[in-house]
Structure formats: structure tokens, C-alpha cells
Amino acid sequence: MADSAPPTADTAPLKDASRLDPIDYAVISQGLIAAAREMGAKLIRSAYSTIVREAGDASAALLDRDGNVVAQAELIPMQLGPMAGTFRACADLYPLETLERGDFYVNNDPFQGGQHLQDVFLYSPIFVDGEIVGFAGTVAHHLDLGGGNPGLNATAADVHAEGFIFPPSKYNFESDWNGGPLERLVAANVRVPSQTIGDFNAQFAANAIGAHRVEQLCRKYGADVIKATMQELMNYSERRFRAALAEIPDGVFYGEDAVDDDGISDQPLTVKTKVTITGETVAIDFDGTCKQVSRNLNCPISSTVSAALSCVKSVLTSPDIPFNEGVKRPITITAPAGSLLNPTYPAPVRARMEAAYRAFNAVMKALSLVVPEKVISGGHDTTTVTAISHLGDTGYRVYLEVFGGGYGASAHQDGCDAVDSPLSNCSNAPLEATDMDFDHFRITGYGLLRDSCGHGKFRGGLGIHRRYEILKDDVNFAIYADRFRIAPYGLFGGTDGSRGRCEIERDGEIIQIRSKDGLMLRKGDVLKLYTSGGAGYGQAAERDPNLVSRDVAQGYLSDETARAAYPHAF
């Protein structure tokens, strides 16, 4: 990441903001954040695919006219980092002066600011009296964008096999979308056009809502006041972030973790980091990380930046600091070109989350050396994606769902059970929604996975189990996951969490599935998935015996496991 040294909030005090009436500032800044939230909420509520409308795999933001993110709907941490980068790649090619009403930027290119192809970024300019005051931007995870397999191509040899690339470009909603050539081009290249086009329309609508709210604010307070407020919002976050950084000791700290394997060999993919804290700045470098791989586990630099940033923000600052471009100013994040965390074209990148999580874990481990009270142990920390698709009489049916597991424990409490992992925030699809939408499988079990946590003074959160009955032949199953081989790590004496696994029951036989795999399923097959529990924190001998009894009474732990891990409680 090319990070020049931007002026800090302290050296460049609030020139514009000093004119701001404090009540105006409070109202407008909240108004901008509210507008971003409204965009996110309405994007999800008017979307068509289960991955957006039920799982909520989408984000929204308002940007200033230079593409700095000012306010975000805090939905998915991973999607919040790359807004500025994907925007600038477009603005460099199509400068603001060339934009007209109805124009929009689009970009999903992993090598030009994007992450994986499924996350498509759209930006609409906000015009007030003929002048652009900012942009409304949204990103949604699209269910299927073509590529070598419905929803997920586990064996893609390059990025082209993963779907449709939108290079940074500019189009016009009226002439190119809305029944126009771009919409038809996209519809012709995806497997479930009604859902994909519906989700794009939800993104356009959310952008329109954001633009409308900002226009309203401009009419009421004046565009100059709005622009000044945007700058002050970023300065505010920057000031608070710097204050948090200044509080911790300077030093250089190292951490590492690894992805299980690349889906072909059994060789772990190592991620290494060096975290340097100097005054109120922090530099994170991933030198020493393994080379990029031939399968889809490569993590584009913008994903690496998002992961490291999310870790630092979560550990060092209170959750109420608004996340915007100001937060990025005191931080530098770099990774060597050609490595797993900064791959070069045409590397496949679909499953980039696994390496992104290890970057998150490596930074967390480094920080555990300086702020042990603020970190958590290793958790499920994995994106476990299953795609179960079928080509029936009425066309393709693509089911895609993302599963979490247990959070790692902290110095103060047990990890959260059965929740999506720190870099993501997908909801589960209601079973009743899945039942309504798909008839090629049925979910027949979903619950907390007993005994899956690591132990300690505080235990990790529990993982989950899921059970699917396959109702038709020729059902296509693909998965990418992790922590099947390398368990979540305990800290300060806590034990490791459990490993995940996936298996198919077929004619009384069990077929073990690898963490990155795919195969055709038959009617009568039963698919079972188990995700990892989080690791413990601190010595198990220090655990409150009352908590052990509670865990047994509620069935979180079996009696045998509890006796083995916590003999002092019996």
C-alpha cells in the first residue's frame, strides 16, 4: 500500500471545522452516519439473493469528493477497507469533471483495489447545484458471477475461471443499465440473472438513497458545511486512534500463523508479520509470508490491509470510534509483491478470506505481546463457505451460506458461541427461508457443537454443526474452509480449540471432505459440517468451578470433557 505521510489532525487543525457550530456538527455527522446505515439496511431489505438479503453480505458508505470514506454502515469489516482504493482506480481513469448525472463507477478487479470478484463496488456521484459534493458507494457479495462452477469454483487455475471482471469503469444508469447493454451483458454471463440483477438494482437504489439524504443535508445546512463536517469526522476518528496508539509502549513485535494447506498438497501456508509501534503510529509488514499459490487462497493486498486494520482497530480502540479514512492515516501496511498476501495477476483469489484471517491472527499474536489484556485467543477465524447448487427445470438454483464458529476467549470472559468470525459478519439464512427457496436439499440439524471449545480460565466459544439431506441427484457441492488441520491457538496457558471437519454419509459409508474441495452429491446423501470452537485464555485450573458446572448443566460440555479439563471443579 502506497502510504505517503498525510497531514495529521494535530498538525493541521480543524480549519474548516472551526467554523462549525457544535450542534450542527453533531447533527450532521450523525446524519451522515445515519444515511450510510439507511443505505445498508435498505440494500439488504430490497435484495433478492439469500446471501445479501438474509446473510447481509453487503456494505455501504458515503465518500467525500476525493473518495475518502467518511461514514459507513458498519456491517462487514472486510468490505470496509477497500472502498477508497476501488474508487480511486475508477476516478484516475474517469476524472470527476467528466461525470454527469446518472453516471456510476464500477470495479471488482482484485488487482486494482478490489478483493474477490464476487464483491462488486458501485459508486454514484452526489450532485448539488451542479457540483459533486461526494459519492454514495455500496458493495455486495454477488451470488454467482459466472466462472467455472456455480457460486464457487474451488479448482480455478486463475482469476478468469472465477467469474466476470468489471475493470475500473464508468457507465450511465439510464443508458447502460436499466435494460441497456451493460445489464444485458451481465445477465448473459451469470447463472441466476434474476437474483444478480435484482441485487445490483438494490445497490443502485441504496446509492440513490444515500445521495438523496446528503442532498437534503446540503439544502438545509449548505454544501460547504457538509463538506467541512466530512473532513472533521475523519479528523475526529484519526485523533482518537492516535491517542489510543500513543498509550501503548513503543516496540517491534512479531507474530505468525498459517492456512492449513492450498487444497492440493498438505503444506501449511505461513503468514508472518512484524508490527512496529512508534509513538502514535503503527507499521505492519508481512515480510516472510509464503509465496502466492496456484489455487484460490491468494489474498489481494486490499484484503490484507482490511484484515490488519480491523485487528488493530478491534484490539486497541473502543468500538465506538467511527471507522473511516481517518483511521487509516496513522497506519502503514505492506506485504511483498508475489506473496500470499499481495499476489500478482492472474492469481485466483476467491477464497482470500482464509489468508486474510491468518494475517489477522498474526497481528493479534504480535499485539498479545504488548497488550495481553486486550487481545483474544484464536477462534474459528475462518470463512467456511458451502455452495450447494443444482440445475433443474427452472434453471440454476445456487445456495451459498457462510458459517462461523466459536470466538477465542479473552482475559475477562468466555468467547462467544456460534457467531460469524471477526472479519465478516454474515447472518445465517433462516431455515424457513432456505426451505422456501430450495428443494434440492433440506437442512435437518443445526446446533451448538458440544466440547468443541478450548479450555482455560475462560473457555473459547463453541463451534456449530449442520446437517443437510440431499433430495436430488446431480447436486453440485463446493466448499472452502480452514482450521481442519491447524487448530485455533490458546493464549497464556489456554488450550487450543477444536478443528473443523466435513463429511458425506453415503450408503452407510463416510466420505471425508477436505477443507477446500468439491464433489457431486446424490439423492440420499447426508452432508455434515462441523466448525471449530475458539481457544481458551489463561490456565484451566483458574476457572471458576461454578462456570464449569453451568457448562455441564447446559450441555455445552460433556461430563467427561469437563472432568478432564477442570479436575479442580469436581
Binding site: Q30, S46, T50, Q195, R213, C426, D435
Partner: protein
């Protein structure tokens, strides 16, 4: 005589309106048995029970049962494979950067969750029949040893076909006749199993509490010779006959705050104030709600203790800031106010009932913005020395004077209230400056001006007898009954007829429920159809006028849906995408008729005097007078304190106050 009795966390209020005028009473609540407080208020008011023709009641019984987890032990039963629905929830986090995130705690533990063999499909057909033998063999014995007061049943896809839930209820009723059974299909017929299960378990949790409470209350009323109509406030701002509430307990959650909003909106409406922010500050908490065009906002998606509820409720935001909120210093050395409260017992330190920690009320007493001789119209003695003593330790730790720390505590409590108001205004794209504030509750009028100042609100309306406006709201509320039904079909040529049928069925059910109120005239009905484009998951509510039903066409339906979709989502008006109707709600309102008039109690008089108060870091000379002594069209400049038997109104420096023709006190900035 029409009587409203409202049981709050700290005080129980009564407003009676009859031919001879307004009578009010305010007595301490009895948290362990709320009906005790209610009867104390009735006795205090000296109204003969026989003369009461209409008794409306509101209480925090249900809410407190959830917040304090004081309900009876209940069990949860669902489809085999899914007993963890309540623990799994939606698998997301409400704060994405919180590494120590924790999910809200359901009202049923995992060990009290059970499964039955069955599977219904979304089209209402049966994939696996309910295994009745297994229910009798395994489930019934397990439930009977559990000592459960109620059982919540939520089976998968029961919204589409409730047969299995109903069969299970019949089986359980036969074997466990003493246990109340609550079915998800009766509480809310909407898909999404976690939200429906959450609503059902909350309803089951409060069901025994409400059932016993209303049963006891009704019996005691009858013993005392009461023969009038007994109705109870619902969370949606309407009343329901008490008997109906016994079977519909979920509607009792938040009934107390709802009454306040209705009362405030009605009373402000008399002065022509239609767009307002209600600020209801009582002993334990503050409730705020946005009212636009005289109508309080309604939401179908509400959280109590962070658990979802899917029934229509007034869109009220609550924060733990009240007169009884404890003032304390946190581990970071920061001064805090609430959310813990000293409640009614022991209450603030100044009550001298054993409370030693300072509260917001104690802070006012120290600042002199509450006067000992005027508290509750002088009916309750409080001790300023005890209030000062309670603050002394905190003052020492922070190196401040007792007055300074009391003043800071008030500002901190106000900051909490301001954030609560920002959530319902600025966070939703509304500018608080476009609204008037209506302040009520025992402490609302004391805090309103400073809160308004920080939000930029420049007009405050304080209704007469502001401390008991919730009890007035009970009398001012219409009777409201909701019916709901899930019936999914395409908007095609048959749709108008199907909608008319649905409407007819729901109307008949609703009218039957109004039967024993004895009045069916002037009923106003609204049909709301939840529709969406095929493929979407969230519906848009579309209002259909009953008058329009006879000549409804598919074109007209498309038109009103598209307009509603466009208004909310900024797209959808154009095109011919298929549309489906998913569920229907019928709201039946029986208007309250002539609105009782709330007036100030003019008999209450204190001599006008000037005292010294400590406010906003400074000492001020402050006028004190009784509210009823203020002449119409005479503005009084702050600092001033107006006292009435139910609350004290504080007008700070820079504000002025004037009574209007409807006896509302209007505070203005500048």
C-alpha cells in the same frame, strides 16, 4: 367516573376524570406486588369503586419480568434437530469490532429446550407427521418434572400451517392441564424461525405473570364492588379488554411507556403541537418517542433486552436514566449515572429508607432544584442532609464540592438521555430541531430544558399534572385490536377476491373480540397487506382502505404497492415484475370518543419565593412558584422553578415559561 391507574417502577399514578373535575393521586409503587400500589392509589383517591365505569390500567409488570428475569420457569419445544435456535440466533454481531461480543441471553436456557419429531414444509404440506406417541412417551414426562409454568412451542414452518403446533398443544393440555402453552402460530404468523421463536418464548415467559396478575386484580376489583369496564394498555398504544390480555400477554410488554406517549400526544395536540419528541422521565428510566402528525411511530421489529419481538409496538427508546438512577464512579475513574437504579425500595438516599448511594433525585436536592417541602406536593418527607452525605465520598474522590458533583451527575444523566433521543432522530435522518419536546413523568420537566438545549430544540411543552400523564394516556387511548394472517399468493386476477376473503375472515374474528366491550359503532378498520416483488424476502406494508375493497383491481394493487416500494427503496415503480402478497394485518380501532380534559390542579398553592440553586456550574437566584399560580399570557424568565403536586418544572437561565389556553406550560429558549 373514568379512572386510569399506571404502575411505574417507582411511583403508581392515578388520574380520575368525571363530572366533578380531575382528581389525581401518586403513591409509591410496591415492586414485589404492583397491584398493591394500584389499589393504594385507588384508596388514596377516595373514589368509590361502584362509581367507576371505566378503569384503564397500565403497568411495567411484563417488562420488568423480562428485564429482571423474574418470570416463571418455562420450556421451549421445537422441531427435532433445532433446539439451539434460541442460542444460535442470527449468527451476526451488532458491534463488529467488539472482540468480547456476547449475544443477548434468551429467556429459556438450553437445558429447558426440547425437540419433537415432525416437519412441516413452507407450502403447508407435511414432510413428517408429528410423532404423538413419542411426545407422550418422552416429552411429556420430561416437561412434567421440569416444574414449568408455561411452554413455548415454535415448530419449523408453522407459520404456513399450524396443525402440528395445535396438535402438540392439545396433547400437552391433556397431560399437563395446569401449564399454559403458547404457540408461535398464535403469537405471530411470520416466517424466520429465530425471530418467531424469540417472540413466542417472550410471550410465554410473561404469560403466567400477566395471567395471574390480571386474574388477581380483576377479582379484587370485583370484591370491592367494581362493575365497570376493565381494560389494559398494550404496547401498540391502544387498549384491550383485560380478559383478552390474559391470552395475549406479549402485547403487555411496554404498555407503561406507551400510555405516556399517547397521553402526551393527545394533550400536545390540543395546543396544535403535532410533531414532537416525548421525554418521559420517571424513577427508573427515561422513554423517548417520536410523534409525527400526532401519530406515534409504530414498529414491527422491536428489541427488549436485545431480544427480537415481531408484533406491532410503539417505537419507543428507553435508557436507564431516572430519578432513582445511581451515581457512581467506574473503574476508569469516570463519573456515571445509571443504569442501575435504587428503585422504589430502598429508593434515593434522601428517602431515608436505607439507601446510601446517591441518586439523580439526591443530586437535585443538593442543587436545590427539588425542594424538600415541595416533593410530591409536600406529601413525602425527604432529607437533604442524607442526600449531601451520600455524595460526600464521591466528591472526595474526585476533589469536587458536593454541589459540583451533584451538578455534574445531572449533566451526565442528561447526556444519556440526549443519546437516546439522537437514536430516534439524527440516527434516522431526522433533525430534532424540527420538533417540540413534550416533557412529563416525575423528573422529565426538571431535565427537559438542558436536554433540549444540547439538541437545539427550542420549544418544550409541559402538560398539566405532568407527573401523571401516563395515567391520563390510559384514558385517552383508543381500543385497538390487531389481527394477522399469513396467506401467500400472486397479485393476479384472482388477488382482489382473495384479499376480500382474507379481510372478511379477519374482520369477523376482530369483531367477535369487541363483542363483550358492548360497543361496535364507529369502529375504524385498516387493512395492511405485506407485499413484495417475487424473490425478495422483506415485505413492504401497503395500506388498503376497506371502502376500496369492493372495486379493487389488480392494476390498483400494483399501483399502490409500487408507490410504497418506491417511497421506501427509491426504486420499483416502473416495470412489470411479478408481485406477491405474503401476510395481512387488520387494525381495528374503537375510538375513545370524547377526549377527557386534563387540567391543572389549581387548589395547590405555595407562596412565591426566591431561593438559591446550583445549576450549570454556578449559583443562581431562582424564583419558585406553584404552577397553578401562573397567569395566562404572562411569561416568566428563568431561572425559575414551578411546582405542582406531581412534578417540578425547571426553567434555566436563558429560557422563559408561559401557560397557554390549554393549561400546557410552554418553555421557550431565548
Amino acid at each position: 367516573m373514568r379512572v386510569g391507574v399506571e404502575v411505574g417502577g417507582t411511583f403508581t399514578d392515578l388520574v380520575a376524570i368525571g363530572p366533578s373535575g380531575v382528581r389525581i393521586a401518586k403513591v409509591p409503587s410496591v415492586p414485589a406486588s404492583p397491584d398493591e400500589g394500584a389499589f393504594n392509589a385507588l384508596i388514596e383517591s377516595a373514589i368509590p369503586f361502584e362509581s367507576i365505569e371505566d378503569l384503564a390500567h397500565g403497568s411495567t409488570v411484563a417488562t420488568n419480568a423480562v428485564l429482571e428475569r423474574k418470570g416463571y420457569p418455562i420450556a421451549f419445544v421445537t422441531t427435532r434437530g433445532f433446539k439451539d435456535i434460541l442460542a444460535l440466533q442470527r449468527h451476526n454481531r451488532t458491534n463488529i469490532y467488539d472482540l468480547e461480543y456476547h449475544k443477548p441471553t434468551p429467556v429459556v436456557d438450553r437445558k429447558n429446550s426440547f425437540e419433537v419429531d415432525e416437519r412441516m414444509l413452507p407450502d403447508g404440506t407435511v414432510a413428517a407427521a408429528l410423532d404423538a406417541a413419542a411426545v407422550e412417551r418422552d416429552l411429556v414426562p420430561a416437561l412434567s418434572v421440569g416444574g414449568y409454568a408455561a411452554i413455548a412451542v415454535c415448530l419449523l414452518n408453522a407459520y404456513a400451517n399450524p396443525e402440528h403446533e395445535e396438535a402438540l398443544r392439545d396433547l400437552l393440555a391433556r397431560h399437563l392441564p395446569a401449564v399454559l402453552v403458547t404457540l408461535s402460530s398464535e403469537v405471530t404468523r411470520e416466517f424466520r424461525e429465530f425471530e418467531r421463536a424469540s417472540t413466542t418464548t417472550l410471550s410465554a415467559y410473561v404469560q403466567p405473570v400477566i395471567d395471574r396478575y390480571i386474574g388477581r386484580f380483576g377479582a379484587r376489583l370485583a370484591e370491592n364492588g367494581f362493575a365497570g369496564r376493565f381494560s389494559v394498555m398494550q404496547s401498540n398504544g391502544g387498549r384491550l379488554p383485560a380478559e383478552n390480555m390474559r391470552r395475549n400477554a406479549i402485547m403487555a410488554l411496554l404498555s407503561g411507556p406507551a400510555a405516556g406517549v399517547v397521553g402526551a400526544a393527545r394533550q400536545a395536540g390540543r395546543s396544535g403541537v403535532e410533531n414532537l419528541i416525548t421525554l418521559d422521565m420517571g424513577g427508573t428510566s427515561t422513554d423517548v418517542c417520536l410523534v409525527e402528525d400526532g401519530t406515534p411511530g409504530i414498529t414491527n421489529e422491536f428489541l427488549i433486552d436485545n431480544l427480537p419481538i415481531r408484533t406491532p409496538v410503539l417505537d419507543i427508546n428507553t435508557v436507564g436514566a431516572g430519578g432513582g438512577s445511581l451515581i457512581w464512579i467506574d473503574e476508569g475513574g469516570m463519573l456515571r449515572a445509571g443504569p442501575e437504579s435504587a428503585g422504589a425500595d430502598p429508593g434515593p438516599a434522601c428517602y431515608c429508607r436505607g439507601g446510601t448511594q446517591p441518586t439523580v433525585t439526591d443530586a437535585h436536592l443538593v442543587r436545590n432544584t427539588i425542594r424538600r417541602e415541595a416533593f410530591l406536593g409536600g406529601k413525602m418527607d425527604i432529607d437533604p442532609d442524607a442526600a449531601r452525605a451520600a455524595f460526600r465520598t464521591l466528591a472526595g474522590r474526585l476533589g469536587m464540592s458536593v454541589e459540583e458533583i451533584a451538578d455534574s451527575a445531572i449533566r451526565i444523566a442528561n447526556a444519556n438521555i440526549i443519546r437516546a433521543i439522537q437514536i430516534i432522530t439524527t440516527q434516522r435522518g431526522k433533525d430534532p430541531r424540527d420538533y417540540a419536546m413534550v416533557a412529563f413523568g416525575g423528573a422529565g420537566p426538571l431535565h427537559a430544558a438542558q436536554v433540549a438545549d444540547d439538541l437545539g430544540v427550542h420549544t418544550i411543552l409541559v402538560p398539566p399534572n405532568a407527573g401523571v400523564i401516563s395515567a391520563f394516556g390510559l384514558l385517552a387511548a383508543d381500543h385497538i385490536q390487531y389481527e394477522s394472517m399469513t396467506r401467500r399468493f400472486m397479485l393476479d386476477r384472482d388477488a382482489p377476491r382473495a384479499i376480500a376473503e382474507v379481510y372478511g375472515e379477519m374482520r369477523a374474528r376482530a369483531l367477535a373480540k369487541f363483542e363483550h366491550i358492548g360497543r361496535r359503532e364507529n369502529l375504524s378498520l385498516i387493512l395492511i397487506a405485506d407485499m413484495r416483488f417475487v424473490g425478495q424476502a422483506f415485505e413492504v406494508p401497503v395500506e388498503i382502505e376497506p371502502a376500496e375493497l369492493d372495486d379493487l383491481t389488480v392494476e390498483r394493487l400494483r399501483e399502490i404497492f409500487a408507490a410504497a416500494h418506491q417511497r421506501i427503496f427509491f426504486h420499483g415503480a416502473a416495470g412489470d415484475k411479478p408481485i406477491e402478497a405474503v401476510s395481512f394485518r387488520l387494525r381495528v380501532t374503537l375510538p375513545v370518543g370524547s377526549l377527557p380534559v386534563l387540567r391543572e390542579t389549581h387548589e395547590y398553592r405555595i407562596p412565591e419565593t426566591v431561593i438559591e440553586i446550583f445549576d450549570d456550574r454556578h449559583r443562581h437566584a431562582c424564583t419558585v412558584m406553584s404552577r397553578g399560580a401562573l397567569e395566562p399570557a404572562t411569561a416568566v424568565a428563568g431561572p425559575a422553578l414551578f411546582e405542582d403536586p406531581t412534578s417540578t418544572i425547571f426553567v434555566p437561565l436563558g429560557w422563559s415559561a408561559e401557560a397557554d389556553a390549554h393549561e400546557n406550560l410552554i418553555l421557550r429558549k431565548g
